[in-house]
């Protein structure tokens, strides 16, 4: 069976950059993306002429599109990939960039996400949430006929189902946002600056019951840029390369649903005791590593239950075990598996996961300051919907 070994460690991240993150930035997504792009060039010690590929996540109307970006920045691009207007495409966007480098379609791909969630807030629920009528099924199980709207609602359905199947509770779920808030407090770039207690979590208003305010990501503006090149080229850049060791794609089908994992029995999923099969863990085989080698795990934490689902999806624990597994500081800095060490979407900023990918690179370069995971060699990006990349120094 092809295990992707031919791409293992052949591509690398050679530059990262972010814009400032804000609750209501004056800049447009284009301006924010330009700021992140320029920062990434400085980080890599490159000029814009080195960039011949663009891999864009989000796009208009929440974010910036490839054509306007290339025109605005005066780029000469020969490879473009633009993913759907959803944060779940952070991993697939990086994968497309790595594959383009590996096949020679480009020599340096700028992966970009610049978003203005505060300006385009109406897309996130209510009459402006046009996805609710998408081919008989909203992306997040929206259905405006029944008042079902907003991404949080899909995540809330998944959480309620999980609570009922496994006897898990909202108090246990609170361990996730509390952990990530602790991380944000060590991050000068994070937007949330106050510690979060269990009592505050439980007292906070419902966004969609059973999800509290603090189970839901921030609504912010910002941009991030990740430059991907061949491993060879990355070696003479200013910063040490962060190698892409393995990857696996985004999953889709009737057993998959956004904001859940297989087996839960949401929407049209079958209900069964799902555990990952070999092909669900291709990323480890490709990287020649196991879960035990992962020094820190990064995930798309738009809603706190997604953290439980990714842990079960990638076999860090069994089905139904994540609620207990995440207690006692296990996913905090200093714990067995630190996750989202910059604070994630829940407490740093909502740059559609890209802020966490930038943090992952900082960690592997040893640049994370007070949040540094000591001696970290391997970090993983993995989401509740099954896509993943493993990076190593």
């Amino acid at each position: 069976m092809a295990d992707g070994a031919t791409i293992r460690d052949r591509t690398a991240v050679s530059g990262i950059g972010v814009s400032r993150f804000a609750f209501a930035a004056e800049e447009t997504p284009l301006g924010l993306a330009a700021e992140a792009f320029k920062a990434a060039l400085v980080d890599a010690g490159l000029t814009k002429d080195a960039v011949d590929g663009l891999a864009i996540n989000i796009g208009w109307p929440l974010g910036v599109d490839y054509d306007r970006f290339a025109e605005t920045l005066g780029l000469r691009i020969r490879f473009v990939e633009q993913a759907w207007t959803h944060g779940r495409f952070a991993g697939p966007t990086l994968q497309a960039a790595a594959m383009a480098i590996h096949t020679g379609l480009a020599t340096c791909v700028a992966c970009l996400c610049g978003v203005s969630f505060t300006r385009e807030r109406q897309l996130l629920g209510g009459p402006g949430d046009f996805e609710g009528t998408r081919e008989e099924g909203g992306t997040h199980q929206e259905n405006p006929v029944y008042g079902m709207t907003a991404p949080a609602a899909g995540a809330a359905l998944a959480a309620q189902r999980y609570f009922a199947l496994y006897g898990a509770t909202s108090q246990e779920l609170a361990a996730v946002p509390i952990a990530f808030r602790k991380h944000a407090l060590l991050n000068p770039g994070a937007l949330m600056k106050k510690p979060l207690s269990l009592e505050e979590h439980q007292r906070s208003r419902w966004i969609v019951e059973p999800l509290h305010l603090f189970d839901c990501c921030l609504v912010t503006d910002g941009a991030a840029c990740v430059l991907v090149t061949s491993a060879e080229r990355s070696r003479d850049r200013r910063k040490p390369p962060v190698l892409i060791a393995g990857m696996q794609g985004l999953r889709a089908g009737r057993d998959d649903v956004l904001f859940g994992r297989p087996g839960l029995g949401l929407w049209q999923q079958r209900t069964f005791r799902w555990t990952p099969a070999d092909d669900d863990l291709l990323v480890y085989r490709m990287a020649s590593l196991t879960q035990r080698d992962v020094g820190a795990l990064y995930t798309y934490d738009a809603f706190s239950p997604l953290v439980w689902f990714v842990l079960e999806r990638f076999g860090f624990c069994g089905p139904g075990e994540a609620a207990k597994w995440t207690q006692g500081g296990r996913i905090e800095l200093g714990g067995e598996l630190p996750m989202n060490t910059s604070g994630g979407l829940l407490s740093e900023a909502h740059v559609s996961g890209w802020n966490s990918i930038v943090e992952l690179v900082r960690q592997l370069r040893g640049e994370a300051g007070p949040r540094q995971v000591p001696g970290i060699q391997v970090a993983q990006w993995a989401t509740a919907w099954g896509d993943s990349l493993i990076f190593r120094r």
Partner: protein
């Protein structure tokens, strides 16, 4: 019933027969004439065998609540007077799950596993919306 201000379904060639049946107070879903699979949401082919031959078969209307959420904020203005309101997923006896609302069940009494049965809400002369009530 011209005063109905909530969103109405968008009728398409795929879902037209579902809403025509609902108007007659019948819950009908597609059943594959090749392999027998019953599916939802409405679609042009069977997800089991890709056959495009199907019938719109009557369903029992009986099912159980498989999950639910409660909205405390009204993103849609027309739901504002009803908050907190619940949205449920109902797993039909025949297998597929539908999104719906429950009638006559306060949000605090909804439980996963609760047996329910379909009812139809005539909201306009053209549209009747399937909802569910507690099964007797």
């Amino acid at each position: 019933m011209s005063g109905y201000a909530k969103p109405l379904p968008r009728i398409t060639p795929d879902n037209g027969p579902f809403w025509e049946a609902a108007r007659r107070h019948e819950l009908r879903l597609q059943r594959c004439l090749a392999c027998g699979q019953v599916w939802y949401p409405p679609a042009p082919v069977c997800p089991g065998c890709l056959s495009d031959r199907h019938q719109w078969a009557p369903m029992s209307g009986r099912g159980t609540v498989s999950s639910f959420v409660v909205f405390h904020k009204a993103w849609f203005p027309a739901f504002a007077s009803e908050t907190p309101y619940a949205v449920v997923q109902v797993e039909l006896e025949e297998g597929p799950r539908l999104t719906a609302n429950l009638v006559d069940v306060p949000p605090g009494e909804i439980r996963v596993g609760m047996p329910v049965t379909v009812v139809f809400d005539d909201v306009t002369p053209e549209i009747s919306i399937p909802r569910f009530r507690r099964a007797p």
